[in-house]
C-alpha cells in the first residue's frame, strides 16, 4: 500500500556542528570555564591542587545527580534523598561499630538507600494519583526520623574503625578514587539515558505518560525502578560522604535534595519531565562545586553562597525562556 502521492519524507538527521555547540550544554562548559577563571581572580589559593583536595566532600553528592536526573525526566521528583543519605550513613556506622568487615558496611550503606528508594518507588507506582513531591516529603521526614531515633540522645555517631573509609578516600595520582568512579558512573548513566531504549522510555513517560502506557511501556514498573535506583545512589553518596566525615549525625545530608535538584535543573533538565540530559547535570554539578570552593576559600559566608547558587538557578531557567520568546516576537511583527 505505497502512498499514492509518492511523497517522500526526509529521514536525514538535521543539525550540524553549529547547532551542537549552541546548546545549553555548550553554554554550561563556558560557564564552567568562567567560574574557574573567576575563582582564580577572587582567590589567590584557587588552583588545581587545592580544588582537588577539597573536591571529595562535594563529589559524594554528585552521585545522586544521575538518579535524580532520571526521576526528573520521568516528570517525578524525589525530595527524600538527603534523609536517605543520613539514614544510610547512620546504619553504616552502626554496622561498622558492630564489627562488620568494611565490605559489609558498604553493602549495608548502599542497601539501606536501596530499600528507602524502593519504598518511595512502591508508593509512587501504587498510588499513582499522589504527587511524588508529597510522597517523598513524607518519606523525607520518616527516613530522617528513623535515623534520629537510632542515633538516640547524642544525635551523632562516629565510625570506630576508619581503615575502610580511608581506603576509599585514597587517591590515584592527584585524583580521589571517588572522582574516577563518578566519571565512570557518569559515562554509564549518560549513555543509558541518551542511547538505550530504556532511556527513550523515560523520556516517553515524562513527555506523555498516557501515550507511553498505550505504547506498551511498563510505566509504573519503570517509575518504581528509578526511585529504587536513586535510593541506591543515595546510599553510594552516603558511603563516600562517610569517607570524608567518618561519622553521621542528625543533620547529615540536610538540604542535599534541593542542591541535587538544583544541579539537574541548572543542567537543563525540566522538572516537568521529558526534557534535558545528564551531560548538563554533570557539568552543572562541577560548576556549583567549583563555585563553592572558590567562594569558600575567600571565607564568604555559606548562606551567601546559597544566595548566589539560587540566583544562578533562576537565571538558568529564565534565560532559555526569554531566548525562546524573542524569535516569536519578531515573527509577530
Amino acid at each position: 500500500m505505497a502512498g499514492k502521492s509518492g511523497r517522500e519524507i526526509s529521514a536525514v538527521p538535521e543539525g550540524g556542528l553549529k547547532e551542537k555547540l549552541l546548546t545549553w550544554e555548550g553554554a554550561l562548559v563556558l560557564i564552567f570555564v568562567a567560574v574557574n577563571i573567576l575563582g582564580m581572580i577572587i582567590s589567590p589559593v584557587y588552583n588545581a591542587t587545592n580544588v582537588l583536595r577539597e573536591m571529595p566532600k562535594y563529589l559524594a553528592e554528585a552521585f545522586m545527580v544521575f538518579g535524580m536526573g532520571y526521576i526528573l525526566v520521568l516528570g517525578d521528583i524525589d525530595i527524600s534523598v538527603g534523609s536517605i543519605v543520613c539514614l544510610s550513613a547512620t546504619m553504616a556506622c552502626f554496622a561498622g561499630n558492630a564489627g562488620m568487615p568494611f565490605v559489609l558496611v558498604a553493602l549495608v550503606c548502599i542497601l539501606t538507600g536501596l530499600v528507602c528508594g524502593l519504598i518511595n518507588g512502591i508508593i509512587a507506582s501504587r498510588f499513582t494519583e499522589l504527587p511524588t513531591m508529597i510522597i517523598t516529603l513524607g518519606t523525607q521526614i520518616i527516613f530522617r526520623g528513623i535515623a534520629e531515633v537510632s542515633l538516640g540522645s547524642g544525635g551523632s555517631i562516629s565510625m570506630n574503625n576508619t581503615d575502610g573509609l580511608s581506603a576509599i578516600a585514597s587517591k590515584i595520582g592527584p585524583f580521589p578514587i571517588s572522582f574516577f568512579i563518578l566519571v565512570i558512573a557518569a559515562v554509564v548513566f549518560i549513555t543509558i539515558l541518551a542511547k538505550t531504549t530504556f532511556g527513550r522510555k523515560l523520556y516517553a513517560i515524562g513527555s506523555n505518560q498516557t501515550a507511553a502506557k498505550y505504547a506498551g511501556i511498563d510505566v509504573q514498573g519503570i517509575r518504581c525502578l528509578c526511585f529504587t535506583l536513586l535510593g541506591c545512589l543515595s546510599g553510594v553518596s552516603a558511603l563516600f560522604l562517610l569517607s570524608t566525615l567518618y561519622g553521621a549525625n542528625t543533620t547529615t545530608g540536610n538540604g542535599f535534595e534541593m542542591e541535587v535538584i538544583a544541579m539537574c535543573v541548572f543542567g537543563g533538565i525540566a522538572t516537568t519531565g521529558g526534557k534535558g540530559n545528564l551531560i548538563g547535570g554533570f557539568i552543572a554539578a562541577f560548576i556549583i562545586f567549583c563555585l563553592k570552593i572558590a567562594l569558600g576559600q575567600r571565607n564568604i559566608n555559606t548562606q551567601l553562597i546559597l544566595v548566589i547558587i539560587g540566583m544562578m538557578l533562576i537565571l538558568s531557567v529564565v534565560i532559555p525562556a526569554i531566548s525562546a520568546a524573542i524569535p516569536k516576537k519578531k515573527k509577530l511583527k
Binding site: 500500500m1 505505497a2 502512498g3 499514492k4 502521492s5 511523497r7 517522500e8 519524507i9 526526509s10 529521514a11 536525514v12 538527521p13 538535521e14 542511547k195 538505550t196 531504549t197 530504556f198 527513550r200 516517553a204 513527555s207 506523555n208 498516557t210 501515550a211 507511553a212 502506557k213 498505550y214 505504547a215 506498551g216 511501556i217 511498563d218 521529558g274
Partner: protein
Amino acid sequence: MNVAEDLILELKGITKIFPGVKALNNVQFQLRRGEVHALMGENGAGKSTFIKVITGVHNAEEGQMYLNGKEVHFKGPLDAQEAGIAAVYQHPTSYPELSVTENIFMGHETVKGGIIQWREMNEKAQELLDSLDADFKATDEVGALSVAQQQMTEIAKALSSNAQIFILDEPTAALTANESEKLYGIVDKLREDGKSVIFISHRFEDMYRLASRVTVFRDSQYIGTYDVDGISNADLIKAMVGREITDMYPKEKIELGKEIFRIEGMSRTGFFKDVSLNVRAGEIVGLTGLVGAGRTETIESVCGITKPDAGKVYLEGKELNIKKPEDAMKAGIILLPEDRQKQGLILSWGLGRNVTLPIQDELASNGFNDEKKERELSKERLEEVDTKAVTIFQPASSLSGGNQQKVVVAKALAQSNMKVVIMDEPTKGIDVGAKKEIYEIMGQLAKKGYGIIMISSEMPEIIGMSDRVYVMRNGRVSGCLDRSEVTQERILELSMEQGSSGNGGKTA
C-alpha cells in the same frame, strides 16, 4: 413559518470552521418565548458546537444571532450570561469543594461594605432550591451531591442570575428514571414561569415528554424544524440519519477467513457487562452505540489498559492472559486509541520516534537504540500511509488531525506481529479526504487478512465499512447486525433508550 411569532432567540446562517473541518455549515435556529425546543442529531452532527456558539464559547465565522429581535455579538461566555443565556451541561462544571450557595453565587456574591453576606446568600439559595423542590441544602458541599442534584444546582445558579434562556445539554444522560422525572418537572416549571428552554438529548422520550418543537442537525447542517405532535419516530430518525452513501467507503468483498479473535463475557462494574464479540480474518467489525455506551471502556479492558472484573480473550483459538498493554501488543492486538493527541502520540516528539516507540526494543541491539533502523522503518511506514510531512523529525504537533491519525496508523503498521487492529474513532475530527484515506488503509488491512474492529459513532462509516456491526447500549451488547441487514434505523433503534412512558416513544 409564521413571521409574527414571538422569537426570543434566532440564529441565521451560522457557519463555524475548525481547522480542516466545517463544524457548522449555514445552520439556522428559532426559539419561541416560553417554548421547550429539542435539538437532535447524531454524535458529531454539530449540536454541541452550535450550543457553544449560542453561549459565546465559540465565535462563528459567519451568521447572525438575534436576541429579542436585536442582533447580538457575544465575545465570550460572560456576554451570553449577562444577556440571560444559561447553559447546564451533562457533567456540571462547578466547584466541587464549595457549598451549593457558593456555587450559585460564584462571581456575583452579595456584598455589603466589602463583606460577603453569607446568611443572606444562604437564605436566597435555599429559596431557589425550595422553588425547585430540591432535596438537599444550600450549605451542602457540591462534590457530595449526585449528578442530578448538581444539575439542579446549576439550574438554580442560572435562575439566580435571572436567565431567560436555558440550554440543557443531554441533561438526562446520566440520570435514573426517577431523577429524569424530577428534571421533567423542573423544565415544566421553567416553562410555566415563561422561560425558554433548548435541550439536547438522544432520548426520544425526553423529546415527547417536554418539547413542543424539535430541530434536527445532520452533518453540521440544518435539516429542519418540526412540531413534535406532527412527526413520527420514523420520520425523525430519517431526518437524523437519512443520507446517501456514496463511494466514500471503499469496502471490497473479501473472502472471510476463520475466526481470529473472540472476547467472551467481558464485564467491568459500572462500565460494561457481559460483552462478547468475535472477528474473523479479513473482517471489519463495527462497534457502535451512543457515546458513553461502554465501547471504548470494553476495548481498553481487552487491551490491558484497565482491569476487567470478568471475561476471556481468545486469539486464534488460544486464550490470552492480558494483564497490561504490553501483553496485548506482544500477542498482536494493536489498539489505535480514541484520543490520538493524548493516548496515541507524544506530540512534542518527532514523527519517526512516535512510530517506533512500541517496537524500539525489537529494533535495538543489546538495549541500545538502532537509530538508523528506526529512521528507515519509520520513513517507510509514514510514506506507506501517505503522511503529509516534510521530515520524520518534525514534531507530531505540527501535523493536522488527519495526518496525526496517519502517524498513529503508521505506528500500528510498524508492529510486524499485528493480527488484530482495533481502531477507536479512527476518523474523529478529521476532514473528508483524510477520512477516505483511512478507510482505504482499513480495506487494505482487511485484504491482508487482519481482523479489524472499528469503534465509531459515525453511522455512515459504520455502515459503509463494516461486515458486521455490534451495537452497545448502557454497557451491554444490544444487538449484532449483519451487513445485509444493517440500516441506520436499526442501529439507532438498538442504541437508543426505548421509550417507556408509552406516549409514542416506540421507535420505528
